[in-house]
């Protein structure tokens, strides 16, 4: 046996100042590994009997992260034995959340959009007991439907979002244009507003595929999934996509901007004269452009159609696997049902969102005038969303078809037939 085994580590690696035995070394490694593993699990706040973990996606508006932490601390101040650990998740939130929900280490409370498989896999707990008739009647039926699967409510709507076609009033006026009322007028206006360095319209960097994929057919009276049936394979929907192709081919769309449609940069920086965006951006736009901005829902496809927009937003949910289910539900009730001031601060203090409580939406001062008031009215009249049975695989199939129609110039009907067949397969998988 060589005699210099022990000092080997010491002399050759230099910085590993090792004087102990092999057994000590292994013991040290084991302890270190243990510490690391413990660090991966749930951490608890000292002094609290219960620690609830709550996940949010990263909101773009300044001050939102501080706000949710403030709400959580306010709850702990009222209930010292319950601590809330807020986790602010940047990046691809949906994927990170779904992955976390597969494990035992998922958050107790999280925000998201409810899907049927989440219910089937028992990832979300029913919240019906938080909705007595008085509360239930203070939510719009559409918000309730969006958060219900098979008659049970699984999501508590925290904010409603909607889309707006923003336009620069001064540029339309200079071009002698009125705000467009139909898709044909949108196309004509976009062309006329296009100059050397400015495009007429910005619908996102994919040329509006994602932004209008549902809205254009809705504006023609079409739909996608109703009563567990795929219903988009119709001449109406095909006509809507072919009209979108006309817009796409007009050369008036801005493509390749550094930010996408959900941020207002293209409109504010003058890269486009009109932009599809969210109500959430309105404070930013109003600050930059003052009174030189107008907005409306997406115009009707033809005079026989009607304006269309989306009902989006985020819902709070409780992890059905949580060990602290009742505490989590109590906290959510306090946060989004019993504290109108918090909901008002959350919806209107940073970006603009419509408070889901009807009583609050009716009385909220910032939503009573101008573009915001119009958006709330449009949301109530035309806001739509896809049902919880619609999943991302169906979304991919439809997106592929629409891309082929818009960008490859293929006829719409056969593309929709292929997509519908695939969506039917996905739906039957989902319902099995």
């Amino acid at each position: 046996m060589r005699t210099n085994d022990a000092p080997l580590l010491h002399t050759q690696t230099g910085f590993v100042n090792w004087h102990g035995s092999r057994r000590d070394f292994l013991r040290g490694v084991t302890v270190a590994a243990g510490v690391l593993l413990v660090g991966c699990g749930h951490s608890s706040v000292p002094g609290a009997r219960v620690t609830l973990t709550q996940w949010y996606h990263q909101y773009g508006e300044k001050g939102t992260q501080e706000a949710v932490v403030r709400y959580a601390k306010a709850y702990t101040a009222l209930h010292p034995d319950i601590a809330i650990q807020v986790v602010w998740v940047p990046g691809d939130y949906g994927t990170k959340l779904s992955t976390a929900l597969l494990t035992r280490g998922g958050p107790d409370i999280f925000e998201g959009q409810i899907t049927k498989p989440m219910v089937t896999a028992e990832q979300v707990a029913p919240l019906d007991d938080l909705f007595p008739p008085a509360v239930r009647s203070d939510f719009s039926p559409r918000d309730l439907a969006q958060n219900s699967v098979d008659g049970k409510i699984y999501g508590l709507k925290m904010l409603d979002d909607t889309g707006i076609l923003y336009y620069r009033k001064s540029l339309l006026k200079a071009a002698g244009l009125a705000p467009p009322k139909t898709m044909d007028e949108v196309i004509a206006a976009a062309k006329k507003l296009t100059t050397g360095t400015r495009k007429g319209l910005f619908l996102g960097n994919d040329g509006g595929v994602a932004a209008l994929i549902n809205i254009a057919p809705w504006s023609a009276g079409g739909d996608f999934l109703a009563d567990n049936k795929i219903v988009f394979n119709t001449p109406q929907v095909a006509g809507a996509y072919e009209k979108m192709r006309e817009l796409s081919d007009s050369g008036a769309l801005l493509i390749g901007a550094p930010t996408d449609w959900w941020e207002a940069d293209a409109l504010v920086q003058g890269q486009a004269a009109m932009q599809w965006g969210g109500l959430w951006s309105y404070p930013t736009i109003a600050k930059a452009l003052g009174g030189d901005v107008g907005g409306m829902a997406w115009p009707a496809l033809e005079t026989s159609g009607h304006p269309a927009t989306f009902l989006g937003g985020w819902s709070a949910m409780v992890n059905a696997q949580s060990n602290q289910l009742e505490e989590a539900k109590r906290y959510l009730k306090w946060l989004w049902l019993d504290s109108p001031k918090i909901q008002e601060d959350w919806c209107l203090g940073y970006g603009f969102h419509v408070p889901p409580r009807l009583s609050l939406a009716r009385s909220a001062a910032p939503l009573q005038a101008g573009v915001a008031a119009g958006a709330v009215k449009d949301l109530n009249s035309w806001g739509r969303s896809l049902p919880p049975e619609w999943n991302s695989a169906m979304g991919t199939a439809l997106t592929d078809a629409v891309t082929n129609i818009l960008k490859e110039g293929r006829p719409a009907a056969p593309e929709l037939a292929v997509a519908a067949k695939k969506c039917e397969r996905e739906l039957s998988r989902l319902l099995e």
Partner: protein, 308 residues
């Protein structure tokens, strides 16, 4: 007693062997072997929003994918991508290696300069390519350059006709990986005995094409084959630049439909859609494909055979 001493030494050696091998073996088991077996079981299951195999459905996931136009199209996409990127990387990295090998002064400087991009993350590079170099605005870097020649701004990413996005996708990978393969070629070049070139010179072969064709290239055979293999496998595994430049999930997924490699499709199927059964099946199909192409390539170029 010598025998006892020997067996003590044996035991000690055995202990040392396991002490050194077991961490790697443990890692391999936990992070590679178990996931492979688990993944295979998942691929035979209907695993929606769960990673627990159990609801076995035979090979239906495989059948579903092999009749899914979008998945088949993604396989075509990746072959097209490989057809562009593999020969291009090969030619450019070999060319650079020859040039760098030639310079007497500052060789290590150039070697480092060309190698540095390999240290850049694919995500970061993709975002730079997308947002600053190839954005569609008049002040985007490339649009500004072509603007100097009076060419109108081009929307590089997002149109199908012409498919400029391929230029963006291919150049970013080229920039990122050429330096690495250049280093491999440089090592290969430095292994070629000088005496061969001296002998060629004595026989009257001047510097230039004949020497490259009859000495350098054949001597680089082993290096070339490994560069091609690594390159091809990397191309088939492409994900980052497609996901970050064209988009893979989230609200603006419209561009992803233009060119979607299998890994992006499987990522959205398994992670966005939470269908881990089909996701796992797709992983095995892709592995089989890479395996088959690698074997075929090995057969054509004689990789692994004895040097003649």
């Amino acid at each position: 007693m010598p025998i006892l001493q020997k067996s003590q030494a044996d035991r000690s050696a055995t202990f040392a062997f396991w002490a050194f091998v077991s961490p790697a073996l443990l890692g391999l088991t936990v992070f590679t072997l178990v996931p492979i077996v688990w993944g295979f079981l998942l691929s035979l299951s209907h695993a929606q929003n769960t990673i627990h195999p159990g609801h076995f459905i035979g090979f239906r996931n495989y059948a579903d994918l092999l009749t899914d136009e979008a998945f088949l199209k993604s396989l075509v996409t990746i072959v097209v991508f490989a057809v562009f990127i593999v020969p291009l990387t090969f030619a450019v990295s070999l060319g650079l290696a020859l040039l760098v090998n030639k310079v007497g002064w500052g060789r290590s400087f150039f070697r480092t300069v060309f190698f540095i991009p390999s240290a850049v993350s694919y995500v970061v590079a993709s975002l730079i390519w997308k947002v600053s170099l190839f954005n569609g605005l008049p002040f985007g870097f490339v649009n500004h350059l072509i603007g100097l020649f009076g060419v109108h701004p081009v929307a590089w990413i997002g149109t199908a006709h012409p498919p400029w996005y391929w230029l963006v996708l291919v150049t970013v990978r080229l920039w990122l990986q050429v330096g690495f393969f250049m280093i491999i070629f440089l090592a290969g070049l430095q292994e070629i005995p000088k005496s061969l070139y001296e002998a060629a010179s004595v026989d009257g072969a001047g510097p230039g094409w004949p020497v490259f064709r009859y000495i350098t290239l054949p001597q680089l055979k082993a290096t070339s084959v490994s560069v091609l293999l690594l390159n091809l496998i990397a191309a088939f595994q492409a994900f980052d630049e497609f996901y970050n430049i064209l988009g893979g999930s989230g609200a603006s997924i419209g561009n992803a439909s233009l060119a979607r490699p299998p890994l992006v499709y499987l990522y959205s199927l398994a992670l966005s859609n939470q269908d881990f059964g089909r996701g796992a099946a797709g992983g095995f199909i892709l592995t089989a494909l890479i395996f088959a192409v690698t074997l075929l390539q090995g057969r054509i170029f004689g990789f692994g055979g004895s040097e003649k």
